[in-house]
Structure formats: C-alpha cells, structure tokens
C-alpha cells in the first residue's frame, strides 16, 4: 500500500441509514479528531446492501454491488470502527443484515476474520445502546473479528453531546471519543504486525 507502514487506515461504518443519524455524526467527528497516524474514512452508506437471501447469493451478483463494495473497503482497511443505534433493545436488523452478508465467503474471504474492530453507539435514549453493542460484539465474535474489549463507549442522550447544526461534540464527549480512538490505535498496533511500531513487542503467549 502507498501509505507509510506506521499509518493505520480505519473504515468507519454507521449502523443506521438515516442521513443525519447521530451515529454517522459521531463517525464524522471521529474522522476529524483521529490520532495523527490514524486515517479514518467514513463509509458512505449500507443502504445499498440488500436483504440477505441464499437464493440471491446462489444465483448471481445482481443487486450485490453494495456488498462487494463494502467487502473491498473492509479488505483494504487495517481496522473497522462501527457505530450502532439500538432498535427495540437490540441490534438493528439493518446492521446485522450487513454482517450476515459479510460473513459469507466473498472473493476476498469472510470480511471480518482476524480484523481489529471497535464498536460504539449513540442514542437519544438514556441507555447508550448498551444492549445493541452487546449483541454486535457477540455477532462480531461469531464472524472472527478481533473486537476491542475496553474501553467501551456508550453515548446516551445524544442531543446533549452533539451540536447537530454545527456538527460538533461537546467538550466532555470530545475527550471520551479521543481517548477511545487512542485506545483503538493501540489495540490495532498490538494485533496488526504491519502497523506495529518498533517499540511494541508482538502480542502472544509469554
């Protein structure tokens, strides 16, 4: 790849289709405040991913352009950041459907296997997407992702943390997100030999 070995390319995916969703805003803010060596790109949308259907998968690629596009973007990235809303005390069907597609063997193999992933989520409600994130973590484990265990970033009462008109975060939220991204950078470097800095030992049994 063309970027220096110590740079990290992170693909960020919002689990909601709503254009002005808080989770998309959160990822846009993350792209602005990523650590110096993290290049964070927000995937435009998962709206072009159809409902998972084995018959559709078996008969051809019609309508599957969105799946292939996301699969390629994930393959090209060093790590993935996912921001999920919570629907009905659980993971949105839209986001789970995307994972269901990506878990299948495409040309590049299952998308998440061995890939460092961080998850977060924002909601207007009081519970911070805790249950949705738990289910997302569970599904990501099933598809072989290496999900950062801690810190966890639950964002409740989103309108208090986001200035929707200006697209900015309040100070406390900004600090939490910044620390989360720094921890994610460490998690990625620990797992990912190609972007490991010289002073970091390899992870593994002692």
């Amino acid at each position: 790849m063309a970027y220096p070995a110590t740079s990290i390319h992170v693909l960020a995916v919002a689990g909601s289709l709503r254009r002005d969703s808080y989770n998309r805003q959160l990822l846009n803010a993350a792209a602005q405040m990523a650590p110096p060596q993290m290049i964070l790109k927000v995937h435009d949308t998962i709206a072009d991913i159809p409902m998972f259907d084995e018959d559709l998968e078996a008969t051809g690629e019609r309508g599957l352009g969105g799946v292939a596009r996301l699969r390629e973007a994930i393959a090209a990235a060093d790590a993935i950041l996912i921001a999920t809303p919570e629907y009905n005390q659980s993971l949105p069907g839209v986001l789970k459907n995307t994972i269901d597609w990506l878990s299948r063997s495409g040309a590049a193999g299952p998308a998440f296997a061995g890939k460092p992933v961080a998850i977060t989520g924002a909601t207007v409600g009081p519970w911070g997407t805790r249950l949705a994130q738990a289910q997302l973590r569970h599904a990501l484990t099933a598809v072989g992702a290496l999900t950062m265990p801690t810190p966890q970033l639950f964002i409740a009462d989103a309108p208090r943390s986001f200035d929707v008109r200006q697209g900015t975060l309040d100070g406390s939220m900004e600090l939490r997100l910044s620390n989360f991204l720094l921890a994610f950078e460490k998690w990625i470097r620990r797992l990912h030999p190609a972007v490991r800095t010289p002073d970091q030992p390899e992870a593994g049994p002692r």
Copy 2:
C-alpha cells in the same frame, strides 16, 4: 369476524427469504397439522420489506407496501408463529429488520403489542437456533409481544427431520411440533378473551 369465536387464526412468518428454507417447510407442516380449531396461514414472504430507514418512513410509503401488508395480516390474526434460522450465532438481520419496522406506529399501532406469539427455529447445524431464538424472544419482549415461554422447540440437524422432496416431517419431529402447537393454542386462549373457551377462567392476578 366471520369465523366462530372459538377458532383461532394464526399467522406464521418465516425468518428466512430462501424459498425452500427449512423454517418455511416447518411452518407449512405446522399449517397441515394444526389443532382442529387453529387456522394457521403461512405469510408468503418478508422479502418485500425494505431496510428500516427513518428518512424513508418520514417521507412516505413508497416501497413500504410489504410493511403495510404484513402489519395488516398481523392485526387480523389472533396470534403469530415465527420460525427463525440462526445466522452468525444470532438473529438474522432480515427478521430483526422486519420487527424493527413493525415496532413503529402504523395506522393500526405497533403490530406486536399484546399479541400472543410463539417462536421456533430450524437449522442444519447442531445447536437448533438456540441463540437466535433467545434474541428473538428478547426483541419481541421489547415490542410488547406475549411470547409463549414454554415449551421451546429447537430443531437441530434439520435434514434428518425433514423430507425435503416430500415436504414431510419424521415421526418424532411431527410429535414435537404437534405438542408445541397444542401448547400454543392453550397459551392463546389463556390470553385472548375473544377465543377463550367457556371452561377456561380468565388469566390474571388472584
């Protein structure tokens, strides 16, 4: 309604889009062997339900015909039977997305609130959709459904229980399904005054 007060109309929904899915076959078998006073109709498909998107919901009903159709079918039924596959150790995005749509207030209100529901699931794998059913039960609780707690019907190793060519179940599977449907009939009558038989007392605090 035109049917006798003691009849029960059950709408059965398969959580997979695959035409020959084991879960659809299971529901077709259930329709054949339903108890005498249970009229069980299998919903043809959830393939025409789009990805949940608040923007789409806000701007109109284009593409939402499948949502309205299923919402009306649920409103017209006394109870719902759902058969789910399991994808990535969890509830398929396709089925969760359907619940996410139906949880919104349509013309007839949230579809599942106060509705008796039974869940089951079949898989070719060894674990019988146990995790998918747990997540389905969790989501149904969030949307106000009255989900039958027991018996639970987990169907592992589906090809051994189904004769795909003939569309029949093996004897042991047939007995399990039959007992499950009898229990569901009791659950519905207990919760649903309009179809309560004269000898059944009302449910409620003592």
